[in-house]
Symmetry: C2
Subunit: 358 residues, 2 copies
């Protein structure tokens, strides 16, 4: 911070100061602080050094430690918005827990999707002896690896490169779509299944994320369509969302769908849980019961799924597991690039039932 006066900065205590306070040599301090056991020092010297270091607040310099051990024991999770935006940030928790098993600490930075800030943050991290990087995206998407990461052990989390040359961990969105469709078929739905949350033709994202080009949307839908096709049927129609995938837009889109379609849907597969909550509201206003008249399925497994009655059946993003597996992959490098697809569990609710008999 430019405005911080030197007097208040954290002054680094030197080896020499610790040695003086403990009344021992500098090399004795160095041996103790580095945990070396190949030198014979008395317990008394050990105690005096430890006490002096403690009293002075001595902190071993990381660069010196890294030069000695070949590793710093710290990796970074670099993302666009993951640690500063809700929900997806449980990926950080998963990564942190797994890294702890490897005695490795995690620093997290968000770049806000700004290439210049990303470059500064990467230089700042890499200049501090980071052993590797988990490069994460809030939304599942295709990214270009920043040049600064060339040569740095890196695992992609919730994103991939176009050429598949970098280890990556992503949710299995196609399987999630298949599961959603299969669940509805199993309950007897067939010709009345609508999809809520399609992008308008030519759009690559909503108003908030115009260039998002979400893999999740295309893959979820591909899974749904594949299962319906295999059963000899297809989506009855789709409701487009060209703004945020939020509750209000879900309500509007489903109200429009109900007003305009000749036959009422028997089931709505919503691209995310917020849209599904909006769908509940529109169905309620139109006098439809969930799931008696219309079944609803969401995706994400977000807190929204627990905010409605009946609770929403949702195919959940396995954020903690995604983070955990990316960290495990970084800890155990492979010989060839790996792509791991993590299953998305079904979060059971009460929103799926048999279609009404007509």
């Amino acid at each position: 911070m430019t405005d911080t006066p030197p007097a208040r900065r954290a002054a680094r205590v030197t080896l020499r100061e610790v040695a003086e306070r403990a009344g021992v040599s500098r090399s004795a301090v160095s041996f103790v602080m580095n945990g070396r056991t190949d030198q014979r020092l008395s317990d008394d010297v050990f105690d005096r050094v430890r006490r002096a270091a403690d009293e002075l607040g001595y902190r071993p310099n990381i660069t010196a430690q890294t030069l000695r051990t070949g590793r710093s024991g710290t990796v970074a999770l670099v993302s666009d918005f993951v640690s500063s935006t809700s929900f997806a940030n449980s990926m950080v928790r998963g990564a942190m827990h797994e890294l702890r098993e490897h005695d490795t600490l995690l620093f997290t930075v968000d770049t806000q999707g700004d290439p210049e800030l990303e470059e500064q943050l990467l230089q700042s991290l890499l200049g501090r002896d980071i052993d590797g990087v988990i490069y994460a995206s809030m939304f599942t998407r295709t990214i270009s690896l920043p040049r600064a990461l060339a040569g740095v052990p890196t695992v992609l989390l919730n994103c991939v490169t176009a050429d598949g040359s970098i280890d990556a961990v992503v949710p299995d969105e196609v399987a999630a779509g298949r599961d959603a469709a299969r669940m509805l078929l199993d309950h007897g739905h067939r010709d009345g299944i609508w999809f809520v949350g399609a992008l308008p033709a030519g759009s690559r994202g909503g108003a908030a994320w115009p260039e998002w080009a979400p893999i999740a949307l295309t893959e979820r839908r591909a899974g749904i369509e594949a299962v319906l096709a295999a059963a000899g049927t297809a989506l009855a129609g789709e409701a487009e969302i060209d703004e945020d995938w939020d509750v209000a837009n879900g309500r509007r889109a489903v109200a429009h769908l109900l007003a305009g379609s000749a036959a009422a849907p028997t089931a709505l597969v919503c691209a995310n849980d917020a849209l599904a909550v909006g769908a509940y509201q529109a169905l309620h206003h139109a006098g439809f019961d969930v799931p008696g008249d219309v079944s609803v399925v969401g995706f994400d497994g977000s807190p929204f799924a627990r905010a409605v009655e009946p609770e929403l059946t949702s195919i959940a993003l396995p954020h903690i597991e995604l983070g955990r597996r990316a960290a495990a992959m970084l800890a155990a490098p492979g010989d060839v690039p790996r792509l791991e697809r993590v299953p998305m569990p079904i979060l059971p609710g009460g929103s799926v039932g048999a279609p009404p008999s007509r």
Copy 2:
């Protein structure tokens, strides 16, 4: 990571390698990389050094830079759960945005509330030339400053020390409670106002956070009671929650309240938005209209407030502003410890109206 073979580690490119590739002296490289203008070097040398550094992926060592400039331009946000748990993490966004105005980068770490991990993380950060620390808590509470932070420029975010000796930024929870009560009085409520979310006698927290002792709860309630007392009235009663403050527990507590109280409440002030969503559901089941029969006020301004109809009126936690002010405070140290209380804005919804005439 213990398992990372040396071959895949990020090898640090040295000044010497850059100098060799550029065909210049090591000091010339040092001058260029450190942006020094007190030496005369030709444009050609500048260009060759920059190109060679770029091609080799040279990264200046941060410790060397810090020794030269007296600052590293990086601070850390150290918290219990803020960056790995939803919602509160927009404090990170606020801090990051403000720090950018001061040309300062932000690293974030979560300690999971584990003192040993916290100690490791602080040593790892402080050994990497961090200029200062924003020490944050997910819930507003009283903390003990970790010993490792003695002498390090520190601002507390969403927490305070008992002795008030460290700069701190917290939400103005008492004022938020006053605002909630005043809003209800202004709509004509008086003797039918209940509080939902009291801790059972002797409890310091719910099942998930048994020792939480939340300042938010006591202060919100103190504000409510002060305003009601000044108007010559008091809370009609309270519903206790001894588990998580979630939707299901809110529903249960309010159902119990409605079944047990002689006179139906005219208004419910819920300790957070999730409880308020549960309150909506219980009211709906009991045949009460919101706000026609019962008004509902929440706290937090979370996404839950937008997941119900009518949208919930909530007193919002100003997370982004909290983060921003903590960062600004760290950037401009004061002479005496400061405590800044950030106003909590009213997030208007449709859940507050006049009490029913009886």
